[in-house]
Symmetry: C2
Subunit: 431 residues, 2 copies
Amino acid sequence: MTKQQSHTIHFGNIVDGGLVLDEVLISLFKTPRSYTREDVVEISCHGSTYIIESIIKLLIKKGARSAKAGEFTLRAFLNGQLDLSQAEAVADLIASNSKASQQVAFQQLRGGFSSQLQSLRDQLVQFASLIELELDFAEEDVEFANRDQLKKLIREINGVIRNLIRSFELGNAIKQGVNTVIAGRPNAGKSTLLNALLNEERAIVSHLPGTTRDTIEEVLNINGINFRLIDTAGIREATDAIEQIGVQRTMEKIGQSAILVYLFDVNEITVEELKQDIESLQKPGVKMIVVANKIDLLESGSKKVDFSDGDAASTQLSKLSDFRTFGLSDFLAISAKEKQHIDKLKQKIYSAAIKDKLTGDETLVTNIRHLEALQKTEEALMRVLKGMDTVTSDFLAMDIKQALHYLGEITGAVTTDDLLENIFSKFCIGK
Amino acid sequence: MTKQQSHTIHFGNIVDGGLVLDEVLISLFKTPRSYTREDVVEISCHGSTYIIESIIKLLIKKGARSAKAGEFTLRAFLNGQLDLSQAEAVADLIASNSKASQQVAFQQLRGGFSSQLQSLRDQLVQFASLIELELDFAEEDVEFANRDQLKKLIREINGVIRNLIRSFELGNAIKQGVNTVIAGRPNAGKSTLLNALLNEERAIVSHLPGTTRDTIEEVLNINGINFRLIDTAGIREATDAIEQIGVQRTMEKIGQSAILVYLFDVNEITVEELKQDIESLQKPGVKMIVVANKIDLLESGSKKVDFSDGDAASTQLSKLSDFRTFGLSDFLAISAKEKQHIDKLKQKIYSAAIKDKLTGDETLVTNIRHLEALQKTEEALMRVLKGMDTVTSDFLAMDIKQALHYLGEITGAVTTDDLLENIFSKFCIGK
């Protein structure tokens, strides 16, 4: 091996005693130009379970052992190839199932998040060194650091951290998919809408088994973001009106979602019922999109509604019909059956989740561990800010060290064995 | 690519416009040092379905197309890297699930079979050229080839071919596994025996769904050969004695098998019943192993049987008990429950399938296409032999050409598009 160059491939036999187990290709990666920065050998054999097993048995006989889950990436981290948030991005990248989730994971793998944290740490270290200096001269009651400038710096840092914390909502949505409930009365056309949304979709569409066995979710990809559509069809069959029965289960599902698409049959519902439904389904933190369905069945001639444009139709409808008495102008009029204005609905769903178009360059927090560390950093910095005028420098220094500690946990500048065990045990074997 | 050396690995990004799809490793194999002898590039990306799909889409956009099943191996064959029987061995190697099946496929991949066929072809070509020479001088009634020597040569060639044909039984058993039915009356201990056979087994043991959905087979590996154990348990539950009901289904299963393990409870059965069972279960071509079970329940003291040795016990049992009246001396006495003499039974099962220990060097025919070609070759050669004294040289030459044609079909010296299509469409994609 020492005679061979790194990044070369060699053809040969794997031999156990006199027995040839297989013809294989051996790929060679020499330190430090490998994933783990160690010498690495990869064996490509024929894909027979028997052959693979035989080769692994032979390697173990010769003193090798099976890798633990995530061990290669752990080694890469321990050898300084990746920091901890980059290592975590490897798992995210492998699990990515949409353009957006791939981009966010890739940005993190490339160190976008890490360098932002590094710059925060650098600023804090600078700050801390000024405070430490004061400590050294504590008895002389000197203030090396201008308090107002320090406050401004902490506020700036905290502003960045708060933005990162805020980005988790979107980051998590991108990583996990955005839970989107479709609710409405029986025969509002929910299943037809679901099909209309999915049929036009050319990206990956799949059935995902939900957390509970009886929940089937459909994944709809809009502009690279996955939306997990949750139909409440199972409930409606047994009920006449939403408020009568399954409200509890529906409300549970809505509570776990970011978006609620409330669908009603524009021909069948009274304004009073509509009002009841909307009020009973409202839940803080859940964005509701109100959609009037079956506009194809309206006698459009008599009402002089132009259904060629969904938004215009909605506006005209709200003026023409009784709906205006409810003051409901912000709804979208569609025909799920005729696939009218389905694209507009998709854009509305997308906008409800993503305020601005993603450029792919933004740093988004997607990891709950990172979120918690950032929240703790923020708390520590708030203590620094509050204590600036009242407590002594040594207390300030302690809080700043805490903030540095929490930031360091994200990149792995500060780690414990438990933390590493916890992170890498979630990786698959071979990664 | 032209600037890079063959068998090198390169790290980089796959980029679609401005968008980085993934960090990847590219392995380079340059003509003729690749599997297909063409320039080959392999991309190793992160294992996310989304990423894989994106990269494939990009490649297709850039003019690539998906490979057809077996296309790489077909190209390897068409470019002279492998002959046809070697190409087929690639699929066999991937499907191999035991030491023996891996060895047979590997021997074929390495060209063991091919070179044997080549030497046969060479001899036949030599023979043919002598006959052709006679044709050229037909009017002069010359015999360049001594008829007796020619006959000897043909007989020798046919002897080799017949051995190859005969090897198919073993070769096929090794490749497919040896079907082994366990039959016996209710409570003979069949399931206990099955468990005893499998529990002691340290090699790969798995449930294989059978050809019909209700048949579950257990695979037992003995000395590197897979035996597919077929329990007839499903039948016995509904019956009192084998001959009464499920005989038909049992007989069907026995008919599809190479080995029948007939198990009886030595304490429960009468010699008459035993005789009936054995007679009714006998089937031509199926080797029967008669096994007396539950010797642990015999009052061994009174019968002075030494059960420490299965064979000796069988001999003594057959002398002591009524079984000798049936003349049944060739049975094995075991206790499935106490796991006594299970190893002896395994050796009996193995010996029933494999006469001589395999050395790993023998050429075994495992492919039904090869078998048929060899049979046709043999027939053609028999015609040559029969015609030697009676027909004219031109007829002899025709038959020899036929024999050469059939031999050539095996290695692909003679092929048709249909034949290639038929062979390679059974490969998986990417092979």
